[in-house]
Symmetry: C2
Subunit: 264 residues, 2 copies
Amino acid sequence: MLSIRKIVLIGAGNVGFHLGKRLYKKGFEIIQVFSRNKDKAKFLSEKIQAESITDFSKINTNADLYIIAVSDHAIDEVAQKLKANGIDNQLVVHTSGATASTVLKPYFAHYGIFYPLQTFRINSKPDFKILPICIDAPNKKDLKKLKKLAKKNCSDVQEINDQERANLHVAAVFVNNFSNHFYSIAEDILGQKNLSLKLLMPLIKETARNIERSSPKDMQTGPAIRNDESTVKKHLQFLEKHPEYRTLYLAISKSINAKFGNLK
Amino acid sequence: MLSIRKIVLIGAGNVGFHLGKRLYKKGFEIIQVFSRNKDKAKFLSEKIQAESITDFSKINTNADLYIIAVSDHAIDEVAQKLKANGIDNQLVVHTSGATASTVLKPYFAHYGIFYPLQTFRINSKPDFKILPICIDAPNKKDLKKLKKLAKKNCSDVQEINDQERANLHVAAVFVNNFSNHFYSIAEDILGQKNLSLKLLMPLIKETARNIERSSPKDMQTGPAIRNDESTVKKHLQFLEKHPEYRTLYLAISKSINAKFGNLK
């Protein structure tokens, strides 16, 4: 089995940017970075000694691996274009948590998943040492190649199939996107009294840290879980000036404790 | 101005337990621990060399401070009983985020707030070095005493009035209770595929860590914020077997992005 050495990266957004930098740092050769956005392609490719391209006809057909790190809705179109430009028998993966690996099946004999499970923002450096990379591929040899690649880039490699990844991605939306939205709501509510969200940082960190030791089910605190109807009502009254937050507060309190199902 | 030395602690639940231990460790004399629950009173008082009482008529009237660390709905009743048993001119505080300080006003000339802003569980040791203690008292001298006491027990003392504390407590419910509930939902969704919540720990920690550097508004990622209707619909379909989670998913996605207001 040959190892992966030369890589073409399609996409220079949040995931592509950090994955490209990591692979480069770990000694892999990123021969090209493709992005529809010329500046983004250039910005990343300059950092990782890659060629920057914005045209699929320029794609190098001699790489060992093609990583599609684009928006979910664009994966199919990118796969088509790769195929149309001579990528055929090479290994092609995408990095999405929300999209089945089989989206690639109509186009490639060798395909799979290379999904780093983390929230990526270009301006914020992720810690690859602790994040899991989830891999999958129907072909055993391809899977082995991806495993070897993942192991060089992180310490937690997980073989996760499409069905499992569907669960993982929805769960990730709850713990990341939705928790972060609540941090925003908290910031807004505090800002009305000129209080800083920093006041809540120890609480936020402890909330996250607690579940390393116990199931979150055993760590639930607050008015809803302790049947404290008077505080829940007080909070709902407080939130009357924020109908949108009030709706969320009520829905989640009901979900935590069916007791509050009759409140409106 | 005299300092606080002798303290009577009313309540040996999650907050009372840890606050009592902390005050004791920092050299304060907890002369009594009151709890309706004899075992709880004894369990704590043995650790901090206090007398354990379950009867208000036994309350020591010579303490410098009475800390009411009971459920919100019981604060008023406890205040009445303290007053009825000779506590009158001494300083009395409660530890609640959700209850106004003025609940104590009808009973005591000297009253205030001593609110450690953290989630407390008896089995989990909090880090007082980093948590904020929020204090308040209408009398300047009382406030100074509380400030001095708080400073000996934590490094972040905040003067927070009742109106500010109302905002702070609702915000705390969002970032702690509600985020923790989402960790539970994630655990449930992952459990269906025998996947562990540990897989999401790096993501959960990064989500919390990110807001130390940036406003959560600037850190929002995920399908809702990027207008990814196809992924939102896919997730809603996935959640059809969990109507309760589906309701929350939809409500929060709408709150993140009004675009999804028409989805059902």
